[in-house]
Amino acid sequence: MDRRTVLKGLAGASGLALTGGFAAPAIAQGASAKTLRFVPQANLANFDPIWGTQYVVRNAAAMVWDTLYGIDDQFVPQRQMVESEEVSSDGLTWTFKLRPGLKFHDGSPVLAKDVVASLTRWSARDPMGLMLKAIQNELTAVDDKTFKWVLKQPYPKMLFALGKGNAPCAFIMPERIAQTDPFKQMSEYIGSGPFKFAKSEWVPGAKAVFEKFTDYVPRQEKPVWLAGGKQVLIDRVEWVIMPDPATAAAALQNGEVDWWENPITDLVPVLKGNKNIGVDIGDPLGNVGAFRINHLHAPFNNVKARRAILMAMSQEDYMRALVGDDNSLWKPLPGVFTPGTPLYTEEGGDILKGKRDIAAAKKLLEEAGYKGEPITCVVAQDQPITKAFGDVTADLLKKLGMTVDFVATDWGTVGARRALKTPPAQGGWHMFHTWHAGADCINPAAYNALRANGDKAWFGWPDSPAVETEVTNWFNAKSLDEEKVVAGRINKAAIDDVVFAPTGFFLGYTAWRKTVSGVAKGPIPLFWGVSKTA
């Protein structure tokens, strides 16, 4: 019996007990109706959304800092801090005007110079920002409310870049803070968003507190994801960090917390069985599972060996290892873009469909010159997702007759080791597993893992001129129809050259007590529009 089994059994039993009506006077009271207690996906260990790009930092930052534009559920950037924008006929000069009433949490007004400093810091770290910086002539404040971005060549994705929810987002902060070196952590957390960060109450690893910013003036439009009016209906949000899922489940059932961002699949049936708890898919964009292969070393420096993996792998095996029997939580993914989004395509994805052909895959491996050398598969055991994927891959490699050097380690070690380009026998690697938020995979803008520019590419260093050409074409595309055509070609090239092996598309649940209302589906937890009764 392992820890997980015990945890699952007890949580199950506790769920039955609670739904069976073991109610008693609660000694462990929930917070007041004006305080929402939220269990986030991870610890908020730092709070500089430009310096640290972890999802949890981005999610917290979206409460405190506002953006010029916000992406809605159609992936269209809508005005947020901006009142109007104008682009010159040659597409080179963008002029933006800020909307009135914008204030930072320290009471100072948001000025164009703050925006300029913020965009300068952001563009030193963000992939789209770097592209803009590379073609920038000047970025200047025209007056207190107007700023101008002059480019050397048109950049049709400008508004998407400024409004995207992918980390790092183009958050606006006061000039004095934004002047911090983008590679150093800032120490003041002043934004103009709907919540203020209570720094004095921050205990990294335990608690982070956000208070309603009463001077925030929301837009009048209906809130949709990161766009529209961010109406705050609670006074205070407390993030309670709980590393143990069983504890989080028990705390939610007991009313000690109000909302748990991402319950683990094992515990969801218990939560669903509790009449006081609502459970639903949290982020409709889900996640794309990825099996990264190192393109630098034999046998996988030969495309035939990489295709052998695609030909043999069963995405269903990967997904079932992760989500069990809940079919609503996964989909096969014969492509690289997020299912259900405009650019999703299966063009060129046939190799991932249908019956798996181990014999043909073995033949391809032989043609690639594989002769039984050990294949170093680095697997983080402390992440349930990578552990599940790693176990399936080990089995797959054995079926293919490969010798597996299974390196079971932690995510911190994988993170360091995957950066090594040395041969696997000298500390390098052949393969590791990860996953990408579906929001990052809706298009190539923030999709580093899709890039195939050799040495400059993401870990595995794929080199595919076809992919790179089409990515450039996507950035230059002027309409969605044009983008869709290009996306089809990107998908085909990425699968043909096996930039990485997609293991499937999977979703996760979120759970909240029914005293909480207004929990909306979205790419991040959205706290505006959420209210709570006592």
């Binding site: 820890r3 015990v6 945890l7 007890l10 039993a13 506790s14 007990a17 609670l18 073991f22 109610a23 008693a24 006077p25 609660a26 000694i27 462990a28 610890n43 260990a45 730092n46 640290g52 790009t53 972890q54 770290r125 992918n166 980390a167 070196d181 590679f183 150093k184 952590q185 205990v203 990294p204 690893g205 335990a206 608690k207 309670v240 960090i241 709980m242 590393p243 143990d244 069983a246 504890t247 989080a248 028990a250 705390a251 059932q253 007991n254 000690e256 402390d382 380690t409 932690d410 995510w411 911190g412 070690t413 993170g415 360091a416 950066a419 990860t434 990408h436 923030a446 580093n448 400059k456």
Partner: protein
């Protein structure tokens, strides 16, 4: 005695220095890189390098070690790589919950385990002895997290007597403070109770066979007086030793207990720091723990003189 205590305190300095060097060296050679964790999945290798340089992680071992020791000599434990907060402040934030948990656990343990051990020795070979020892085996065998989940299930979820998780500072009231600590202390104390009960029983059995106990019985002394005044005092040295050793068990156990009960203490801080490779925090905590351990051993040695007048330093 004072000179001895002073000598012992001073002797902790070389121990601490060796611990410091050992910990620093281990972290230096350990795989993992905080810059990679900070940079996130989307960062380029150049970004990672720049972050490493900013953190000084690209410096040679001796430079990094020298700079850390220099700060240490100025009573500066450094700044967390991730939170940008001083390590001393982070430890200060977390020390109260851990100290509270350990104190309540120790209190529970001593007041349960010692009487159990005495009774088991007194009733050696009977069903009472066997029952107590069976509980001791259970305490040894069942992991802290299992006991923790069972307690949370029964006393928090079913009976709703106590909270599942969290910590309330003592400043907010004794009962709110205690109610958050009862379940974790019992969970953490199980193995410790088992250990001390067994040691107490063994020590008492030996003492109860001594001539002076027979003499005490012969002169008509009551059972309670024999057990708790004459026998227990003479059996105290090994018990006190095990209590000291047990502090190390408590420190280790606190890591798991604090995770299970979401207590924001040093144990969780340690785990978080290790997983993220937050070197200054790990170094600060290990130094603190080693200092506490050395100090506890000193206190134990001094306690020997109180329970056994023959021992003199």
């Amino acid at each position: 005695m004072l000179a001895y205590a002073l000598r012992r305190v001073l002797s902790t300095l070389p121990v601490m220095a060796i611990v410091a060097l050992f910990v620093f060296s281990l972290l230096y050679i350990a795989p993992g890189d905080p810059a990679v964790v900070i940079a996130g999945d989307q960062a380029s290798p150049a970004d990672v390098e720049r972050i490493r340089a900013n953190l000084g992680l690209d410096q040679p071992f001796l430079v990094q070690f020298g700079s850390w020791v220099w700060r240490l000599l100025h009573f500066d434990l450094g700044t967390s790589i991730f939170t940008n907060l001083p390590v001393a402040a982070m430890i200060a934030q977390r020390i109260e919950p851990t100290l509270s948990l350990m104190m309540v656990t120790l209190f529970l343990t001593i007041f349960i385990a010692v009487p159990l051990g005495v009774i088991a020795a007194w009733k050696a070979g009977t069903w009472i002895d066997r029952t107590i020892m069976a509980f001791a085996v259970f305490g040894f065998s069942v992991p802290v997290f299992v006991v923790g989940y069972i307690l949370a299930y029964v006393f928090a979820l079913q009976l709703d007597w106590l909270p599942v998780q969290g910590y309330t500072p003592l400043a907010q009231g004794f009962w709110p403070w205690l109610q958050n600590l009862i379940l974790p202390a019992v969970a953490l104390g199980c193995v410790y109770i088992a250990l001390i009960a067994r040691i107490t029983r063994a020590a008492m059995l030996e003492v109860l066979q001594q001539d002076y106990i027979r003499t005490a019985r012969a002169k008509g002394l009551g059972q309670g007086g024999i057990l708790f005044i004459h026998a227990l005092k003479n059996a105290a040295v090994p018990i006190v030793t095990v209590v000291g050793i047990g502090i190390a068990l408590l420190i280790g156990g606190a890591v798991v207990t604090e995770s299970v009960f979401a207590i924001p203490g040093l144990g969780r801080l340690t785990i978080d720091a290790i997983l993220r490779r937050d070197y200054p925090v790990i170094q600060g905590i290990v130094l603190l723990f080693s200092f506490v351990y050395v100090l506890v051993n000193l206190l134990i040695d001094i306690t020997y003189t109180l329970v056994d007048p023959r021992i003199r330093y």
